[in-house]
Structure formats: structure tokens, C-alpha cells
Amino acid sequence: MKFISIILGGVLISNFVFIQYLGLCAFIGLSEQLETAVGMASAVIFVMTGASAVAAAFEQFILIPLNLQYLRTIAYILVIAAFVQLVEIFLKKTAPGLYKAMGIYLPLITTNCAVLGVALLNVAKSYNILYSTVNGIAGALGWSLAIIIFAGIRERWKLMQIPDVLKGFPLALISTGLMSLAFLGFSGLFQGILK
């Protein structure tokens, strides 16, 4: 039951983009084309799942026994950086087109606050390694859902007449706000069912 509630919570109820404001730079920067958005989403799913598992293990086996929890921020950022490097090498070999399309944003996953955010939130909620991994997957799926829906919306803008002053960021933020309003509706949905 706890797994279901973590997954539903991560994907819908406390969606990273719409409710928790995490990973917005990449969300807005990479959502102009559906293809790029899908690529970024897959990279984020891989990095976020891996990073939350490795970070949770790091916490349990190194930081807690050595009483070094105050170094958590620095330790986590290193773990994430190593993971991003791995994804980068992997993509460069297997999908060079996608690698090129993502450009600067792939190394920027390191500074994607959603990835570090989920690792820190896992600690705050005192999840064990298994729950942390599930929470990482759920958060990443929620983030991917958000960016893919949003990229679909943005592709339609090309066919529309938009006032000059709203072009680009203002309209992106306002539509994100409206979608977030929709996601806010999930907040009460499962309260009775899942405790």
C-alpha cells in the first residue's frame, strides 16, 4: 500500500513541477519540442532513480555510521554528478543525435534541483533505500509527465496568434500555472483511500 501511495503521490498529488516547484529551469528550457522533452525525460528518469538509490545507500552505509550527516549536501551533489557523467557517456555512444539535441541541458541535470531535491526529500521523510528508490521513480515519472504534456501544449503555440508581450516565458509560466491548478485537484482525491 505504501508503494502505491508513494507512486501516486509523486506522479500526481505532489507532482514535482506543478506542486513542489522542482526542476523548473529544465522544464521550461527544454519543453519547446516534444522530441527533446522525451529525451530529457528519459535521462531524468534514469538519473533520478539511480541517484536516489545511490544517495540513500550512501546515507545509510557511510554518512550515518561515520556521523557525517552535516556533509550531506556536498556528498549528494558528488554522487549525482558521477551519475550524470555516466548517462552522458552512455547517450554519447548509443544515441548521438539525442545527445546533440540535449546540448547543454544534459550536464545541467547535475544542477537540476529535482534530482538533488528528491534525494534530500527522501532523507527528510526518512525513507529507507527501497522507498527512496520508488520515490525517485515516482518523482521522475511525474516530472516526465509534466514536461511531455507541456511540450505538447507548446508545440501548438506555433500555430496560434500570441500577443508579443506574452511570447516565451510569460505565457509558459501562465500555462504552467493553469496546469498546476488542474493538478491541485488531485490533492484531495486519494486522501480517503490512502493513508
Partner: protein, 217 residues
């Protein structure tokens, strides 16, 4: 003379010319997440000023011994140091604020503003310039956070609380719109603010070009 003016410019450019939120559109997550009131925005801003100045000075001081290929990981470590300091200080002296800002205090370490200033400015400029750049950009960012926080607080609660001075006005002026305090309110406020800013910029540009045409005639 020239050197002095450039120092002053390094400080002042963070307020308007290179304003982090509105001109460069970076550091969005905390801009939206912690701006539910002026006070929250202020303390987040103070934390960012400290980290940005500290990390700019460190990066700039070490720029000659930093190998080019691995500069980004080095920046991240240099940035993480002041972030941990801020985190521990806040936990000790402002525990309530630390609880409100939550995960966004350690997340300063991945705030694009900090790493962007390291890469674009501190890595190429002397220590004093970098110090002023950090202060300027940080203060500009703090003002943004407080403005957005003020708007959301006023619309969301009907009043504004200014630190220990109490709230103005004492009673809400209208039925508070609670949605402004939750996530959609943040996105929509920032989006509309940017649109208004675009209108203002367009107007001033139109006026300038109209003035130039008069001169040509």
C-alpha cells in the same frame, strides 16, 4: 577612473541590466517556491547573497589554479561550502525559517544563478569585482523575491506582514485568495509580472525610437 566606474557597474548591473529573474530567467525554483510572503523572500535572498558572494570570491581567488576541463565540478564543491555554512547557521539561529524554506536552502547549491555567475563572471574577473558582482546580483535577486512575495502575500492573505512591525493593514482588506499562496499562484504571478515588464520595455523602446526619428527629421 575607468576602473572605479567598472567596479560600480559590476555592483549595480545585478539590479536591472542583468536581473537574475526577469532578464536572465534563471533560479526559478526558489523564486516560486519560497515567495509566499515578504519575510520568506527576504531570508531566502539573504542566504543567496551570502552563498553567491562567498562562492564568487572563492572561485575568483582560485581561478588561476583551476584546470579548465574540470572547472564545473570544482565550482560545485566551492559553492557547496557556503551552502552548508548557511544551512547550519539557519538551523541554529532561525529554526522556524529553516523549516519553512525546507529543502530549498540546501538546494541553493544547484541554483543556476550561483553556477552561472561562477562560470560567466567570477572565473574571468579579479576578486574585488567578483565580490561586488555577487553582492549586486544577490541583492537584485532578493528584491525580486520580496516583490513577488509581497504580491502573493497581499493577494493571498489580504495583508502584508513586515517582520516584527506587525501587519499592514491590521485586518484583511478583502476576501483572501488562498490560491495565490499555493503553487498555481506563483506561476501565474511571475508570468503576469514578466508580461507587464515586457509591455514597459516595449513602451520605453517605442518612445526612444520615436525620439530618434524626431531628431532625424
Amino acid at each position: 577612473m575607468n576602473g572605479k566606474r567598472s567596479l560600480l557597474h559590476d555592483f549595480t548591473k545585478g539590479f536591472i541590466e542583468e536581473n537574475a529573474t526577469f532578464r536572465m530567467v534563471i533560479g526559478m525554483c526558489p523564486t516560486l517556491a519560497v515567495t509566499t510572503s515578504i519575510v520568506n523572500g527576504f531570508w531566502m535572498g539573504v542566504a543567496v547573497i551570502f552563498v553567491l558572494t562567498f562562492s564568487n570570491v572563492l572561485v575568483s581567488a582560485l581561478r588561476k589554479v583551476t584546470p579548465d576541463q574540470i572547472r564545473i565540478p570544482i565550482f560545485v564543491i566551492l559553492i557547496a561550502t557556503p551552502v552548508v555554512i548557511v544551512e547550519l547557521m539557519m538551523k541554529a539561529f532561525l529554526p522556524d525559517m529553516y523549516r519553512i524554506l525546507g529543502v530549498f536552502v540546501p538546494l541553493i547549491v544547484v541554483n543556476c544563478i550561483i553556477i552561472a555567475r561562477s562560470e560567466a563572471f567570477a572565473y574571468r574577473n579579479p576578486v574585488l569585482n567578483s565580490l561586488l558582482d555577487g553582492l549586486g546580483i544577490g541583492m537584485g535577486y532578493t528584491i525580486n523575491l520580496m516583490v513577488i512575495g509581497g504580491i502573493r502575500e497581499f493577494l493571498g492573505t489580504g495583508k502584508i506582514v513586515l517582520f516584527s512591525l506587525g501587519s499592514f493593514p491590521a485586518k484583511p482588506l478583502f476576501d483572501p485568495m488562498a490560491v495565490m499562496l499555493s503553487s498555481p499562484g506563483g506561476f501565474i504571478t511571475l508570468g503576469l509580472l514578466m508580461a507587464v515588464l515586457n509591455i514597459l520595455i516595449k513602451r520605453s523602446e517605442a518612445r526612444k525610437s520615436a525620439g530618434q526619428q524626431v531628431c532625424h527629421d
